[in-house]
């Protein structure tokens, strides 16, 4: 094991040969991906538990996601995986030009995915279908900025007299944008629906009948092109736990999105190296390893898509 071993400048001093170095890098990457899978498994478990506890939230919430967009994104990501695999192949077979083209195409695939995701996020934003109780409006689409959890849900505050509690929904729905007065209630004393109605001025529709003003508001809502008169008519009244679905949706897709962005960064890095002619049949470890990562990102999306979009 002499030091200046081999003619390959990319061989680290502590390896015997390129083969050992390459197989080690690959093993390392597989282990890192095992870690990634466990990371997302945590999220999938959260998904399972929360869906089991709140099936109505998931049944309601998934309808608001755009299946067409999701499907297109799946195809975009699958295609980018194909170009990535072709890029790795090209690097292994000394085709510098092809390597660069395929890597560039893969990068563009990632861009496409993020753009479509951005459009979807934006639509959710306009609908107010966002994460968390404070951000999820379901229908009215009015942003409630500056909402203070600490105060609103503090159980230290004195319970509100029942009469006032009953009166509040009327007041709030009259002036929807009015600042919400924090405090003055005990969260646990109310059911979720009541909490929302008090906080966000949502009307409490009598069972089986929808509040008229909701339909009016959403007649002009053009975020979705389903040609419907109103959310409530098409998708039914949001259950009180609907925000949980969107918390899970944003949690899963945002973390996946971060992985896509990191992957794009890595692809850009190997693209630059490829243009400099770093890779050949003798050394292509970096392309291979980045390729593995990109396939993992793709694979995770393939789980996310049916779990979030295709709930029956």
């Amino acid at each position: 094991m002499s030091h200046g071993h081999g003619d390959n400048p990319y061989l680290g001093h502590h390896w015997d040969n390129m083969e050992q170095q390459f197989s080690s890098a690959k093993l390392g990457m597989w282990l890192f991906m095992a870690q990634e899978i466990l990371f997302f498994s945590g999220l999938f478990c959260f998904y399972a538990v929360l869906r089991f506890n709140n099936p109505e939230a998931f049944e309601y919430g998934h309808q608001l996601l755009d299946k067409i967009m999701g499907a297109v994104n799946t195809i975009v990501l699958l295609l980018s995986s194909l170009t990535m695999a072709l890029g790795v192949r090209a690097a292994q077979t000394n085709q510098k030009r092809a390597t660069c083209i395929f890597l560039a195409l893969t990068f563009l695939g990632g861009c496409g995915f993020m753009v479509i995701k951005g459009i979807e996020y934006n639509a959710k934003g306009t609908h107010g279908s966002l994460w968390g109780l404070a951000n999820f409006k379901g229908e009215d689409g009015v942003q409630k900025v500056g909402f203070d959890y600490g105060k609103a849900f503090s159980t230290d505050l004195a319970p509100e007299p029942p009469a006032e509690r009953a009166a509040k929904p009327e007041v709030a729905s009259d002036a929807e944008t009015a600042a919400i007065e924090p405090g003055g209630m005990v969260a646990e004393a109310l059911d979720q629906k009541e909490v929302r109605s008090i906080l966000f001025g949502e009307a409490l529709p009598p069972p089986g009948k929808h509040g008229g003003h909701e339909e009016d508001e959403h007649a002009g809502d053009d975020g979705h092109d389903h040609g419907h008169a109103g959310h409530v008519e098409q998708w039914g009244t949001p259950p009180p736990t609907a925000h949980i679905f969107f918390s899970v949706y944003f949690g899963l897709t945002a973390l996946h999105g971060i992985h896509v962005v990191v992957g794009m960064g890595l692809i850009a890095w190997v693209f630059v190296n490829a243009r400099r002619g770093k890779y050949s049949s003798k050394y292509f470890t970096q392309v291979e390893v980045v390729g593995l990562y990109w396939h993992l990102v793709d694979l995770i999306w393939i789980f996310l898509f049916p779990l979030l979009y295709l709930i029956s």
Partner: protein, 561 residues
């Protein structure tokens, strides 16, 4: 290559290791340390950093104990301040000291040496892990400047769900983010070590010829890679929950706080094995080498490490017997918990059998190892009490639990860590320490430790709840004993630190093999050269010490012939 070749090739450099070229002299300057890719230097930087964290965490422990010297206010009249102290003590000791202590610090130095490798598989990743540790620790440590965290190290929801308006909020975010980053340091170290063990073993070292420390490190690394990401996602979601109110854990928003406990313990129970398994690996080395006898039941010890790593993943529910799980689930978790005791007992009995009729050297590393055996017996057996459902209902959240996990985490994991430091100190520093001083330090810590925590078993069984600022005067005598014991421990650690520091100044040069071990690290010079070995000897059985004999003049062992 044979062993005799190595011996004949290097008696001179073996004899005066520190005077020969070595990894300390390979390059000079601060940058050559801070940017080094050498596993030994990174390991030493870890040791220094962990020592600082240990001193800080220990100071908080002493403040907690001092506060409990009298009932009612002693050194603070603010109970919340007390909550901050025990939280910071636990978070620092667990995430910054014990988890990286053996694998990242000692493992970094010893693992490639034991393998006869020049470095770990990914030296850059190794340095990155170290800086992840630094950054994570800075985040976790910075909570001290923002009022501290009082949630307990477990960050149980809904305590840890704090509105942005609260004064404690910033600290909770910082602590959670610190834990997140420290987790990645741990994961990357695990990835690195698994690949190193798979790919960089010399040809002659088959899996069942590896030193048992490597089996332990390997099993630990598997847990690090598979369990830590679950903690990462959990604390990440808890942060997001805090910022955006997702409604995952917060019951006020429709979330499930017990879900957090499940996820937290899914990591944090295996994390207990991240702490104890490598310590057990050190024990296997220490007991065999200092008994000068082939380790007993090699395969059983190796398999038991793997078994502990696997069982560790399916017992987390025993932390939650009182959290309202179903009776069936409680019973299943209780049963599985008992199953962990089997591989642990296998190890204990094999160590005892190794010592039986051995020629035992009573020296500093062996004293730590014997301390481990005593403490781990108590810590392990009291674990059975807590794993029993009916008994746990009585003992849950009492000092009995506190004493139990300190016997395992400190009395065992840290004892083995210090044993390992004293055992390998001559190897990686190249100086011998004062044996008498080392033994005095180890003995002081042993007695201090037992005086601190044995009374806590008694208090706990009588109903003293953990994490309480105040207590019933009936417990006064036990609390005072406990506090005095903690001072004795602290003094013992000061003696240990002094011993090691003095060895740098006055210690005699270490021979290559001061204890008579036969695993590969004892075949290279002390301290090793930059690439560790000139030639890697073929060692078939690293627990066969018959080829070595003591050389009085050298003060260490040399190969016969």
């Amino acid at each position: 290559m044979s062993e005799s070749q190595t011996a004949s090739a290097s008696p001179q450099s073996v004899k005066f290791g520190l005077e020969a070229p070595n990894f300390f002299t390979a390059s000079k300057g601060l940058a050559s340390w801070l940017l080094t890719l050498d596993h030994k230097r990174i390991g030493i930087m870890y040791l220094i950093a962990i020592t600082i964290a240990f001193a800080l965490g220990g100071a908080f422990a002493l403040m907690v104990r001092t506060e409990l010297f009298f009932a009612g206010p002693t050194i603070t009249s603010d109970p919340n301040q007390y909550n901050v102290w025990f939280t910071v003590h636990a978070a620092m000791m667990i995430f910054m000291v014990i988890i990286p202590g053996v694998p990242a610090a000692l493992g970094n130095i010893i693992l490639p040496l034991m393998l006869g490798a020049k470095d770990v598989a990914f030296p850059r990743l190794n340095l990155a892990s170290f800086y992840f540790w630094i950054v994570g620790s800075l985040f976790l440590g910075s909570v001290l400047f923002f009022g501290g965290v009082d949630t307990g190290w477990t960050f149980y929801t809904p305590y840890s769900i704090i509105g942005t308006g609260s004064t404690m909020a910033t600290s909770v975010y910082l602590a959670l983010f610190g834990v997140f980053i420290l987790g990645f340091s741990s994961i990357l170290t695990g990835v690195n070590f698994i690949v190193t063990i798979h790919k960089l073993r010399p040809r002659v070292m088959t899996w069942f010829r590896m030193p048992l420390f490597l089996w332990a490190i390997y099993s630990t690394a598997v847990i690090q890679v598979l369990a830590t990401p679950v903690l990462a996602i959990t604390v990440l979601l808890l942060m997001v929950e805090n910022f955006f109110g997702l409604g995952l854990f917060d019951p006020a928003l429709g979330g499930d706080p017990v879900l957090f406990q499940h996820f937290f313990w899914f990591y944090s129970h295996p994390a207990v094995y991240i702490m104890i398994l490598p310590a057990m690996g050190i024990m296997s080395e220490l007991i065999s080498i200092h008994s000068h006898k082939h380790v007993f039941g090699y395969r059983f010890i190796a398999y038991s490490s793997v078994a502990i790593a696997m069982f560790g993943f399916i017992v987390w529910g025993h932390h939650m017997f009182t959290s309202g799980m179903s009776g069936l689930l409680n019973a299943v978790f209780s049963f599985l918990t008992f199953s962990v005791s089997i591989p642990s007992a296998i190890k204990m009995f094999n160590w005892l059998s190794t010592m039986y009729r051995g020629s035992i050297s009573i020296n500093t590393p062996m004293l730590w190892a014997l301390g481990f055996m005593f403490n781990f017996a108590i810590g392990g057996l009291t674990g059975l009490f807590l794993g029993t459902l009916s008994v746990d209902i009585h003992l849950h959240d009492t000092y009995f639990v506190v004493a139990h996990f300190h016997y395992v985490m400190m009395g065992s994991a840290l004892f083995a860590f210090f044993g390992g430091v004293f055992h390998w100190w001559p190897k990686f520093i190249g100086k011998m320490y004062n044996e008498k001083m080392g033994m005095v330090g180890a003995t002081m810590v042993f007695w201090g430790f037992n005086i601190t925590f044995l009374p806590q078993f008694i208090m706990g069984s009588q109903g003293m709840p953990r994490r309480y600022y105040d207590f019933d005067p009936a417990f006064l005598i036990w609390h005072q004993m406990s506090t005095l014991g903690s001072y004795l421990q602290a003094a013992g650690f000061v003696v240990c630190a002094y011993t090691l520091a003095m060895s740098l100044v006055k210690g005699r040069l270490a021979p290559a093999n001061p204890w008579g071990g036969n695993s590969l690290e004892w075949h290279c010079q002390s301290p090793p050269i930059l690439e560790n070995f000139e030639t890697v000897p073929d060692v078939e059985d690293c627990y066969d010490y018959t080829d070595w004999q003591y050389d009085r003049e050298l003060g260490g062992y040399v190969l016969k012939g």
